[in-house]
């Protein structure tokens, strides 16, 4: 709640700062800002009705961000916190996205402890080995891309060597994705055979908070002559509540994952490839209808500047469900099971004009196997170092009700956000 006070204080602080320091002499103090952040208003609404949800708005945020950094000794303490009023879900909210201490432990070891956002892997909005928590509800409702990554509490240990580097991340308590819960958007339920928006919203059963029920993620990586190789391992849980408990409540199945990736220049562009094997630890033979099966996932992508200031990115992604015969044989509802092979194509188009003052982008997901799509057009206007505006849409559709993007057809929305950076 104390953060909320900042909302009232920030505009005053922002005005107090001289924004044209060019005529000043550089002061002898260090160049960093003691604190920074933004205020943002965002509104978005449905382009059609969702018969299950009695709200036209899909985004209604008034948000304040505070970022600060301290450097006691040789360590860095960083804070990144949001307080906002959410007109749709919960009223006043606060979230700490980063509250961590980072330090160098010896010449080759970095340690970061605390709440933090983490990302790795090579995919563009497609994640295979990145099993850090994601917030799909924010993503689908038109919040800034930054909010796709949800924070988690963890200890990150990084070691840098001449042969290999590695990152080891331990999250003592499992952090699931922010999943579709029926509050803002309805979702498909195989039990109901259609979309549902439960009230109270879906709350999946999370693993007990005991030692050993957390998550461990490992990345070993190396850059050889511009070729970036990485191998990954993960031990924890599926991030989405795709399993059911014995009493048929949604929950997170135990998961182990092993993967690898490559990113390298090719021609005038960049090529990336990534694979991962998901082992559903409690259902390795695929016979338990309550648990997801093992999967093999693969991604290949290429990105290049097709014309000056116009960048094109293409990706092909495959999700192969293993032990498929066992899945079908044991499923109470085979027609709602995912296809054995789910194919997904993505395309990112970005055009920048007037030195990034205007940015037009379109990200397209299209699945030929699911016959569904998700379009993310966006336009960002950066008026000044302080003011920017983003307008965009999240457009979903598909042929069958149970596929991932098709279930969000009634969530199709457009949004507008105005941000003041201080």
């Amino acid at each position: 709640m104390r953060l909320w006070l900042l909302v009232l204080l920030l505009p005053g602080l922002a005005l107090a700062r001289d924004d044209d320091l060019w005529d000043d002499e550089w002061e002898d103090e260090e160049a960093g800002l003691p604190f920074a952040g933004f205020l943002e208003a965002g509104v978005g609404f449905r382009l059609q009705d969702d018969p299950l949800i009695d709200k036209d708005l899909t985004l209604g945020d008034l948000r304040a961000r505070l970022e600060a950094e301290w450097t006691p000794g040789r360590s860095t303490v960083s804070l990144k916190a949001d307080a906002w009023y959410d007109d749709i879900e919960t009223g006043i909210e606060a979230e700490v996205r980063d509250l961590s201490v980072a330090f160098r432990a010896g010449d080759n070891v970095d340690v970061k402890i605390g709440r933090q956002v983490q990302t790795w892997g090579t995919g563009d909005l497609v994640f295979l080995n990145d099993l850090f928590p994601k917030d799909f509800v924010s993503f689908f409702s038109g919040r800034d891309d930054e909010y796709l990554k949800a924070p988690g509490n963890s200890i990150r240990l990084s070691r840098f060597g001449s042969a290999f580097n590695f990152d080891l991340v331990w999250s003592p308590v499992f952090d699931p994705d922010i999943y579709l819960d029926g509050n803002r958007f309805s979702f498909f339920s195989p039990v109901a055979g259609g979309n549902v928006a439960p009230s109270p919203p879906l709350s999946a059963v999370e693993p007990d908070e005991g030692i050993g029920n957390g998550e461990i993620a490992l990345r070993v990586f190396r850059n050889i002559e511009g070729n970036e190789y990485a191998a990954y391992a993960y031990y924890g849980y599926f991030k989405q509540p795709t399993a059911l408990t014995a009493s048929f409540e949604p929950t997170f199945a135990p998961l182990a994952a092993f993967g690898a990736s490559l990113r390298r220049p090719m021609g005038s562009g960049l090529f990336n490839a990534e694979v991962v094997y998901y082992s559903s630890r409690d259902d390795t033979d695929g016979t338990d209808p309550l648990l997801p099966n093992d999967q093999f996932r693969a991604l290949a992508g290429y990105e290049w500047e097709a014309l000056p200031n116009f960048t094109v990115g293409l990706q092909y992604y495959l999700e192969a469900t293993l032990d498929y015969d066992e899945l079908e044989a044991n499923s109470p509802n085979p027609s709602f099971e995912p296809d054995q092979y789910r194919h997904l194509l993505t395309n990112r188009l970005t055009y920048r004009a007037a030195r990034d003052r205007h940015t037009f982008s379109l990200f397209t997901f299209y699945s030929p196997s699911d016959s569904d799509y998700y379009l993310r057009p966006a336009y960002t206007y950066r008026h000044s170092d302080q003011w920017s505006l983003t307008a965009g849409g999240n457009l979903f559709g598909g042929d069958e009700p149970q596929t991932f993007f098709s279930q969000l057809s009634d969530a199709t929305n457009i949004y507008l956000r105005v941000r003041f950076n201080y």
Binding site: A31, A36, D144, N223, P308, S388
Partner: protein, 265 residues
């Protein structure tokens, strides 16, 4: 006595070298490249940019650059850490410059904890909203253009440069005015296919820092769209002994404060 003689002799030789005109365009470009980008074995500078558009609206950027030469005149590494404005604060740009292939470039976006790689073709586009290009940060390889000495004045070598692969750049040619003493290019003018001057870079101030003539103020102007970016360099130091591992992915998430902070001397 002997030492004094050697000193006098070498001064004489240097004076000779300065007085005599260089006539080989490639050799002038080579020296100019070394003077512009390879002063000392490594270096540090704080930079601020004032970006003004045709309507006079202004934006600022402030960052610290670390540079290390892998080889004099050859490969180089750059690390650029932003401090202002707030929406690019803690963004880090890393370049591994190569002579035999395209440069490797990464941009770290702290909000997403994302290490984004930038494709090789995407180099003559705006660097963080400025009139400077990504390529201007680390320099264009001399081998990408052919060079011709068009004039030698009292002050400058005037050279014309034509790209070997015209499809990879937006200019048809550019002309540089290289100072005959410092070998710094004091003015660069870019001409498009229509033969029109559309972009220029001027050096506004040069200072001697640790014996290296160093550009401390420069300006890029857009003669078609209007607007300009002024760049100012301060707190410059050379030969810090920057180690190789400063220029790795480690520094994106965990910028090397020991080297980024201003030294006490």
């Amino acid at each position: 006595m002997k030492r004094a003689f050697i000193l006098a002799a070498s001064l004489l030789l240097m004076a000779n070298a300065i007085a005599s005109d260089m006539t080989d365009a490639d050799a002038i470009v080579e020296r100019s490249n070394l003077a512009s980008y390879y002063a000392g074995a490594d270096g540090r500078s704080e930079v601020r940019m004032l970006i003004a558009d045709a309507q006079g609206r202004k934006q600022r950027r402030q960052f610290t650059v670390l540079r290390r030469d892998v080889e004099e005149g050859g490969g180089q590494q750059f690390l650029v850490v932003f401090s202002q404005p707030s929406d690019v604060r803690n963004t880090v740009f890393l370049v591994h410059k190569h002579l035999d292939r395209d440069d490797d470039r990464w941009l770290y976006l702290p909000g997403l904890d994302l290490v984004k790689r930038i494709s090789a073709g995407d180099k003559r586009t705006s660097f963080v909203g400025a009139h400077y290009f990504y390529e201007d940060v680390s320099g264009r390889r001399p081998s990408e253009d052919s060079h011709e000495l068009v004039e030698t004045t009292d002050e400058y070598y005037v050279l014309k440069h034509v790209p070997l692969d015209p499809s990879s750049v937006e200019f048809a040619s550019y002309t540089t005015w290289i100072d005959r003493n410092t070998f710094l290019p004091m003015k660069i003018e870019y001409v498009n296919d229509a033969g029109k001057l559309y972009r220029s870079v001027e050096v506004l101030q040069v200072e001697d820092i640790d014996g290296h003539s160093t550009v401390t103020r420069s300006r890029v102007s857009d003669h078609i769209g209007g607007g300009q970016t002024d760049m100012q360099f301060r707190f410059i130091a050379y030969d810090l002994g920057l180690p190789d591992d400063v220029f790795t992915e480690r520094s994106l998430r965990s910028p090397p404060r020991t080297w980024l902070e201003r030294s006490s001397d």
